[in-house]
Subunit: 185 residues, 2 copies
DNA sequence: TCCGACATGTAACTGGTTACATGATTTG
DNA sequence: CAAATCATGTAACCAGTTACATGTCGGA
């Protein structure tokens, strides 16, 4: 629990940043597996500083605008590495509104049921295509000690997940279509 | 939003139940894609009744104990079917603490990194095995208009997901092992 | 008679989202 | 000079978890 702390510590462990910069990271590099709005980040930074896990120094951009550049402390590094090595017990499965709809779809006419599935399939196929685009930006597998290697592994995971999702949806459609084919004839 | 309502309406659309029964359903048949504690269910039932989407009648178990058997109203059925047919736009990806750890694992020695991956793999392999056990309980594919058909599809989805997870983790381990093999020699 | 399952609720808290609020800097 | 982006915060609300609280019923 309190995972947001560790996401922030992990980022600050790489380099010093402002709350705004962190917010950008959550929208880009971490987007595939974690996210947080600035309204959650700023209070958490305050709490982390109070706990002595991070510090900040104020810098001036232009002539007036102040920004707080946060960096991790030794205590913060210790805390982070401890978390990083602790076991990730798999949590209760994430909620899935589509599967909920599908589960109850026996209350719909067959055509509507298939519509539900094809629509979902289309969305995941689109997503998968985007991910393949991201993958093609790597013209080589990054070295294992590079931070880009982690990016690469996470991307492979996303592709694997979307691929399996598409496969499953296609199976569902096939099963819906081949079963009870005589309802309207 | 307010998805819990629809989960409850969907269950009550199949048959009348008490809050306790609903709670059991969330622990069993819906567990793969939705869950809710009784502390969330009882207030929601109250709200649904106030909105006229469900009603209840009090029954006596034994000599004293009262239980409220809830059933869906016509208004409730209308509301439910409307939701059931509405589009499931895929939401922002669910948070994944393991992937967060993996993302930052370049800060760990290679051995610890691999440990993280193999540990996770073992958990998912175990989960997959359990799901295969569930699948073997179906000796035939249920007919498409049967409620059990939905169970079957959802189960196939879970198996597909866990399979792809295991595949990906194995790929990660392989990549970690084959890259930079000369660090300790 | 005791224990596990049946049965229903509330309160306090945590994590997260949306909306409110403000202002400076850079770029076209 | 206008618009996009940089930059930081708070308040109100919603979903969900944990803990508190109570009591009955059926079977071993």
């Amino acid at each position: 629990m309190g995972t947001l702390r560790y996401a922030i510590l992990g980022l600050l462990n790489r380099k010093a940043m402002t709350g705004y910069d962190l917010s950008k990271e959550f929208q880009t590099s971490l987007a595939e597996f974690w996210h947080a709005k600035h309204s959650q980040i700023y209070p958490e930074l305050k709490a982390l500083a109070e706990d002595g896990l991070i510090t900040f120094q104020t810098e001036i951009t232009g002539t007036v605008l102040e920004k707080k550049v946060y960096s991790i402390t030794e205590a913060g590094k210790t805390e982070f590495l401890q978390w990083e090595q602790s076991k990730s017990k798999i949590k209760r499965l994430p909620k899935d509104e589509f599967k909920l709809r599908l589960f109850f779809s026996d209350s719909l006419p067959k055509q509507a049921q298939i519509q539900l599935l094809t629509d979902q399939l289309q969305q995941h196929e689109q997503w998968l295509q985007r991910l393949h685009g991201d993958l093609s930006k790597f013209d080589t597998i990054p070295p294992a000690d590079d931070a880009a290697f982690s990016d690469y592994l996470v991307l492979l995971g996303a592709i694997s997940r979307e691929k399996s999702m598409c496969d499953w949806l296609q199976t569902c459609i096939r099963l819906c279509e081949t079963k009870t084919p005589f309802t309207t004839s």
